[in-house]
Assembly symmetry: C2
Homo-oligomer: 229 residues x 2
DNA sequence: CCAAAAGTGTTGACCGTACACCCATGC
DNA sequence: GCATGGGTGTACGGTCAACACTTTTGG
């Protein structure tokens, strides 16, 4: 950093979280109806200010826990947004994080408290400030990430069916996949453990449940390029 | 952003630039020897503070121009670094940008003024603060980016030989490629214009020069997934 | 016994990779 | 005429994509 020529003006640094969930059919994003000015009553991402004694990751974790009741969540920094008038009341720069959560673990109590709601990623209301851009950037990152790392499992319960997993990836990329190809491709990675349990909620025959085997995945860390589902 | 519960403490936001260049053989990074405290005399990235009337991109552009004399440069935001004590003297959060420049356009005068030097990306001295992490993150991003978009051309002169292009990609990924496969792959994209000019500086026969045809590339924007060189 | 979802294998097309020889020219 | 780097094509194997029928079982 160059310290001779320019002034050192302090500003506010915020953190906004794009919380993704999956309801079994669509990829969802969590939005809250703002209960304070400016833009009270409009939809927005969950966010807060970086405190001087915390790092951005901690702020994102804290905010996520405040609004969803969840901890130990997969998160990734997306980008930092700095348009001068992105907040009309003050100069606020904001770093966006996306989080992947199991939608069913999301606290109903907190949801009511903050007027939070899940929206389909393809169809959500206009957001305040530049939050719409943030969602777009986060979605792009998620899509890229899902191509090289099995992040999808963060959005599902521990045990899931092959069909649920496929529907999830179809929702992430907004495509349709062939179930035979999907299944054999996924199974070829050898990081899914097939359980001796069936989910019978969606069919008479019942579908086998699987579990992501993180240990096996880590063992393979070398020699991997893309997942290419 | 949630404004009820937490204080709004202001802090300094810096921008640090990872400037990549290519000398025909190795991928390089531009470092300066700090002429001011703290850590005077140590190697560091070029950087500066975000001013209240500019966005991060503008700050990065300004800093790049100050230190290299160049404008109209390809840049991309990498990430924001916020460790509490990353700067021992003050709480400073910093957003890293990487820039790709044609190494030969880099101003010698400014280089002397700031004691700037190019280092091989695989072998550079210890850097102050978390600048080493920033370089690592930037390199990772560049590698990923180069897989899906033809950013490499930013590092070369307007006209270049097939061999130079190949060497560049070999330097970016630290691999060796087969020149027949590389050439036919690259040419199959149809975004290189073969000129009726030869560079005779490296061989008696001379090597044809090519130019990146951005217009043709843009026309193909659809239907493209990866470059996969 | 039937409706509804689960589960499974084969084939052809395409792409990536390995590999070796001739060409043009300046000295 | 020879040394040096430039330029090109083919054959193999692996991966991706398209495709349809049988199984299970609750009602």
């Amino acid at each position: 950093m160059m310290q001779e020529d320019f002034s050192r003006e302090r500003l506010l640094l915020a953190v906004d979280c794009i919380v993704f969930g999956f309801d079994g059919e669509f990829l969802k994003v969590l939005l809250i109806k703002r209960g304070f000015e400016p833009e009270m009553g409009k939809w927005s991402l969950v966010g807060g200010f970086l405190q001087t004694n915390e790092v951005l990751e901690d702020a994102a974790t804290r905010i996520l826990s405040q609004y969803t009741g969840l901890s130990d969540i997969y998160m990734e920094q997306v980008a930092t947004f700095s348009k001068i008038d992105r907040d009309p009341e003050d100069r606020i720069v904001s770093t966006a994080y996306y989080a992947l959560i199991d939608i069913h673990k999301h606290s109903q109590k907190l949801s009511r408290q903050f007027s939070a709601q899940w929206f389909n990623i393809e169809d959500f209301p206009p957001l305040i400030f530049d939050h719409g851009e943030m969602v777009a950037a986060a979605l792009k990152r998620l899509r890229t990430k899902a191509q090289t790392e099995p992040v999808g499992f963060e959005l599902l319960p521990k045990k899931f069916t092959m069909r649920q997993l496929q529907t999830l990836y179809e929702a992430i990329w907004n495509v349709t996949l062939d179930k035979r190809n999907f299944s054999s491709k996924i199974r070829s990675f050898n990081f899914l453990e097939k359980l001796n349990e069936k989910d019978k909620s969606t069919s008479r025959k019942g579908a086998f449940l699987f579990r992501f085997d993180a240990e096996e995945y880590d063992k393979q860390e070398r020699s991997r390029t893309t997942l290419n589902l």
